[in-house]
């Protein structure tokens, strides 16, 4: 197992390297710079600013400098919010985004697994069609339509929740539901398919022939195999959740990292872009690794390979 983890981490190094390099090249190829929007900046001040952030040095030197500092854990100063370092901004906003993400995926798992199992147990009945139609709706109505609609109904019309903010526990509900809904829908479909597949297997019949109760057949014999597709989906889902949170944070005005990422790209805040992209890439790598480990733990046949 340790060898597996080590080899996966080693594989991640070139991936991270490619991502960082690609990002660096892309944002430097793009026209404009971090200070091009600011008016009333004299050429002298601009030169001073650029010198301050080492933007006057040749690109390869800047690239290597960035790596050297990044490897020591310093992502550099933000070029837009001069007083703050990228580390500080991430430190402030990442916990918010993480909390939102965790709440959303929890919501998605609870709803998705529940609906999927119920649907998979009695296929082609009402208890199958009803949750699966809902799941189809969840997949087809995009986050940026559901979000404003929920806001319109629950915050503006009925005033159950506040319109924006991230202060009380109730502020978490609408964003988490909005972000989690499509994933819940997907998980429901995957769970249903997985359960149907497993429940048709011979070993389920063996379990029934042993006098195992229906409840135990499901949770002891079927669930492990039935959930494998869901576990596999959770890897890409985290990547999707990250980008989905940009939209949700914008709709609900949440002080998370997602908005900073989009704004940093608009503002050509080079260090901020590099920092956030690298952070996202690391998170995706880590989540994919976790998913692989969980999969191996659930599926003994995978462990041999």
């Amino acid at each position: 197992m340790l060898r597996f983890i080590r080899s996966r981490l080693l594989e991640a190094i070139p991936v991270l390297f490619i991502i960082a390099t690609l990002t660096f090249v892309m944002i430097r190829l793009a026209p404009g710079g971090p200070f091009s929007d600011e008016r009333n900046v004299s050429p002298a001040t601009l030169a001073k600013l650029e010198a301050h952030y080492h933007l006057d040095q040749p690109l390869p030197v800047q690239y290597l400098t960035w790596w050297r500092k990044t490897l020591t854990g310093d992502l550099g100063p933000s070029m837009r919010y001069g007083a703050h370092s990228v580390n500080e901004i991430i430190g402030h906003t990442l916990p918010v985004s993480l909390e939102l993400g965790i709440l959303a995926i929890t919501f998605a798992l609870v709803i998705g697994l529940g609906a999927g199992i119920v649907a998979g147990l009695k296929p082609n009945t009402v208890t199958d069609y009803a949750p699966m139609s809902l799941a189809m709706i969840g997949i087809c109505i995009p986050t940026f339509v559901i979000g404003p609609l929920l806001l319109l109904l629950f915050a503006l019309r009925w005033q159950i929740f506040s319109v924006s903010g991230w202060d009380t526990a109730t502020d978490r509900i609408l964003p988490a539901v909005t972000l989690g809904a499509p994933y819940g829908a997907y998980i429901a479909r995957l769970t249903r398919a997985g359960m149907l597949e497993v429940l048709n297997q011979d070993f389920i019949r063996t379990a029934r022939a042993k006098g195992v109760s229906e409840f135990r057949v499901i949770y002891k014999h079927a669930l492990k195999g039935g959930l494998l597709p869901v576990i596999a989906f959770l890897g890409p889902a985290t990547a999707g959740l990250l980008s989905g949170s940009f939209v949700v944070e914008e709709i609900f005005d949440i002080p998370g990292l997602g908005q900073h990422f989009v704004n940093a790209a608009f503002n050509r805040d080079y260090t901020m872009i590099m920092g956030t992209v690298l952070l996202y890439a690391v998170m995706i790598v880590v989540f994919n690794l976790l998913v692989d480990i969980v999969q191996a733990a659930l599926n003994p046949r995978l462990r041999l390979e």
Partner: protein, 299 residues
């Protein structure tokens, strides 16, 4: 002969199964309606999509303006119809881009086999791990205001959308195509050796190609909605086509800002986007059931 008869009836079989699937049929009809609406938008409405009436402002649905107007007094029905053009165009073109890349990559990989295959599929594996949406956003943001003289800037944005989205969505397609090419290679060999009296070419064209085409058609149908969703997502973030042009994502963004007073500005474009995605997904599911009954059971 039995084999060949079976293969020619594959399509009619599939068509019959598809027609029995009412949801898929409904999806196809609805999609056709949206297509017609978008295509004939200029003849269906007396307004222009950029035509403002600031005195009028935003008014709710009425007889002159079926879907109401937006804050600048532009007719929403017109804007939704024109928006459909962009959304569907991006859906079709970006899917073609991804289809082209995916088919080329998968075919070369599967046909070459050996080391080439291993390396090419490893590249796909690695690219799966890249945070692609983030790159698309970066790409759109960074190159959106490139000054281009040789082409209309709106058209440039559209081209950028095709390429950016198409470059993201080809990975799964490549895998599917490769799998199908491998099956084709194997079956072509066996069938040709076994069958007497029928030319190999005939077998491949009439029996094998239709069979391997199924999953590719199905996946293409299912790629279109995810591409359209990505376009709308980018437009919502302000990274797609710019006003006064319109696309569903852009209209939803405008609608979300104004929904407190003018909810119809959010509801109509949201409804159209969702309905289009619904139709495409139902159609895709139906096609999968019809063309690939085995995988239908698994899904």
């Amino acid at each position: 002969m039995d084999q060949i008869d079976k293969s020619t009836s594959l399509w009619s079989d599939a068509l019959r199964r598809l027609c029995r699937n009412r949801l898929a049929l409904f999806g196809a009809v609805f999609l056709l309606l949206i297509l017609l609406l978008s295509a004939f938008a200029p003849w269906l409405t007396p307004y222009e999509y950029f035509e403002q009436d600031l005195v009028l402002g935003a008014i709710g649905p009425c007889r002159e303006h079926w879907f109401g107007t937006d804050t600048l007094g532009r007719d929403l029905f017109t804007r939704v119809s024109y928006g459909g053009r962009i959304s569907l165009l991006v859906g079709a073109c970006a899917t073609s881009v991804s289809l082209t890349i995916g088919v080329l990559w998968g075919t070369i990989s599967g046909y070459s086999g050996g080391h080439v295959d291993r390396v090419m599929m490893r590249v796909v594996d690695i690219m799966y791990a890249l945070p692609f949406t983030i790159f698309v956003i970066l790409l759109m943001v960074c190159f959106d205001d490139v000054e281009v003289r040789w082409i209309d800037p709106q058209l440039f944005t559209l081209l950028l959308l095709f390429v950016a989205i198409g470059a993201v969505e080809w990975l799964t397609m490549a895998r599917i195509v490769r799998g199908q090419v491998l099956t084709l290679k194997q079956q072509a060999f066996i069938e040709a050796a076994v069958t007497l009296g029928l030319s190999r070419r005939r077998i491949i064209l009439r029996h094998l190609v239709p069979n391997v085409l199924g999953p590719i058609i199905v996946y293409t149908t299912l790629t279109i909605p995810s591409v359209m969703l990505l376009e709308a997502f980018l437009s919502f973030l302000g990274l797609g086509v710019q006003p006064p042009m319109s696309s569903w994502g852009l209209l939803i963004n405008e609608g979300a800002d104004a929904m407190e007073e003018y909810p119809w500005m959010l509801i109509f474009p949201g409804l159209f986007l969702s309905a289009a995605l619904f139709s495409l997904n139902f159609l895709g599911d139906g096609l999968r059931d019809a063309l690939d009954p085995k995988s239908a059971r698994e899904q």
